[in-house]
Amino acid sequence: MFELDKLVKAVGDVIASLVTAMGLGSAWVTTVQLAVAALVVIVFAAVVVLFLVWWERKVSARIQMRVGPMRVGWHGLLQTIADAIKLLQKEDITPTNVDRGIYFWAPIITFVAALAVYVTIPFGKGLLVSDLNIGILYILSVTTFTVIGLLMAGWSSNNKYALLGGFRSAAQVVSYEVPMALSILGVILFTQSLSMGEIVSQQTKFHQWYVWRQPIGFLIYLVAATAECNRTPFDLPEADSELVAGFVTEYSGMKFAMFFLAEFLNMFSVAAIATTLFFGGWNGPFLPSWFWFMAKTLIGVFVLMWFRWTYPRLRVDQLMGFAWKFLLPLAFLNLLVTGFIILLVK
């Protein structure tokens, strides 16, 4: 009843008729439709991030027996908007000895990479920009650009803390990408498809959720994904007690905001992917699909926040050792057992 798929379709049709009326071909129709979709996604992402920033402050406050922002709006709900306006108004400082080009592009790449993931995330029934048939692989590929951005930022800042942050980030992301990909592979063994829409459509019932068939895979994914978005307890690239602020040390104003946005976007997308792969995506009874998706995803985001404010930070060698000596073998074992069971059941 509150499904949005018809609305989306109607908007798409309107765009198509408008473009056709302007005397342009079908390629232009698709292009314009995608552009509009992208715009919608960007707006959605901005809203989500604003909400998440506020929510994180509230969660951390509750965990620390505080109340958090209360003044601006209801329970401080508008606090983030105020902060955003403050950031946009700030002077965009470019330090003297930075590598300007790279310094400039680093936050943009990071942000775009974080945003590009949303292209294949099914937010609800029919709410999918593009159901690529290599969807999950696309997500894995695109997320790697995030780390490129971090490296660029770390290098171009010409600051040792930034550089070390970049180092850590590169090592960490490259390392944790492997177990994450392997844990996702466990699910793909069942789905026999890389398409996100297809994966969601296979989990219409509660008992079909892949988390039941891949519990270990889910745990590996959770840990690896947390590391992928550089969040505590894996926030070594920007560990403020060690590296000031890591790769963002020299950034301020709008560029800093973009890194900030990218981090929260990543957090959201990680939770969204977990929802899609393991918890049935937008499938759910009675309520509209986008509600179910958002509910599940926000619970995931909450778990990530919960981690952050509960666990202490790891040491860098522990971090790498954990990835290569524990997660990776475990992921391989999980994959092996999964494949074996699938063979047996067949």
Partner: protein, 189 residues
């Protein structure tokens, strides 16, 4: 000009310009970034060639692993004084001539070689077909490549390990090493 052509030429332009920047940039870090851009362009070409799986793999492996490793190495080895140095050797004129000669040779050959183009519908883009091929026709190379990767992993560990059999100057110089690394690993001024 249709969309495909437009996209192709855009990607070709991106790839070629990035490649040129890779080989000509004085700053090695810039080279690395442009390499990523070139690789990304190639991935786009793969998509154009209806090989999306390969495109994703290209980005995942080249950008996500190889390029990052390279940047990592650049960060570990680059030094302040480097950017002031000559970044090319004395082979520039001859190398340029040879490259151009090679290009002429290849384009000439391409021009004079009729290629039997098939009109059949392409398959295998999404990975199903590739997976089948990997585990049937090409299972032996597949296994060999996996062994190769393992060997590369181990050998890289052995080679680069500081107190390993090939390791440099032992663990005693660690502080010295760190200091030099931190000093030297700055980008150029």
């Amino acid at each position: 000009m249709d969309t495909i052509s437009l996209v192709f030429f855009a990607l070709a332009f991106l790839t070629i310009v990035s490649s040129l920047m890779v080989v000509s940039s004085k700053n090695i870090f810039h080279s690395a970034i442009f390499l990523i851009l070139a690789l990304f362009g190639v991935a786009g070409l793969f998509v154009l060639l209806e090989a999306p799986f390969l495109a994703a793999a290209q980005v995942l492996i080249y950008v996500g692993a190889i390029a990052i490793l390279m940047i990592f190495s650049v960060m570990l080895t680059a030094r302040i004084s480097d950017s002031g140095l000559r970044h090319t050797n004395e082979q520039v004129p001859t190398g340029l001539a040879i490259s151009l000669g090679l290009l002429i040779v290849m384009l000439y050959s391409l021009w004079n070689t009729p290629i039997p183009v098939s009109e059949a519908t392409p398959t295998g883009g999404a990975g199903h077909k590739l997976g089948e091929l990997f585990l049937t026709t090409f299972v032996l190379p597949f296994e060999i490549v996996s062994v190769l990767l393992l060997a590369a992993l181990i050998s890289a560990l052995v080679i680069a390990k500081r107190d390993g059999p090939l390791g440099g100057r032992g663990a005693g110089n660690e502080t010295d090493e760190k200091r030099e690394m931190e000093q030297g690993a700055r980008p150029g001024n």
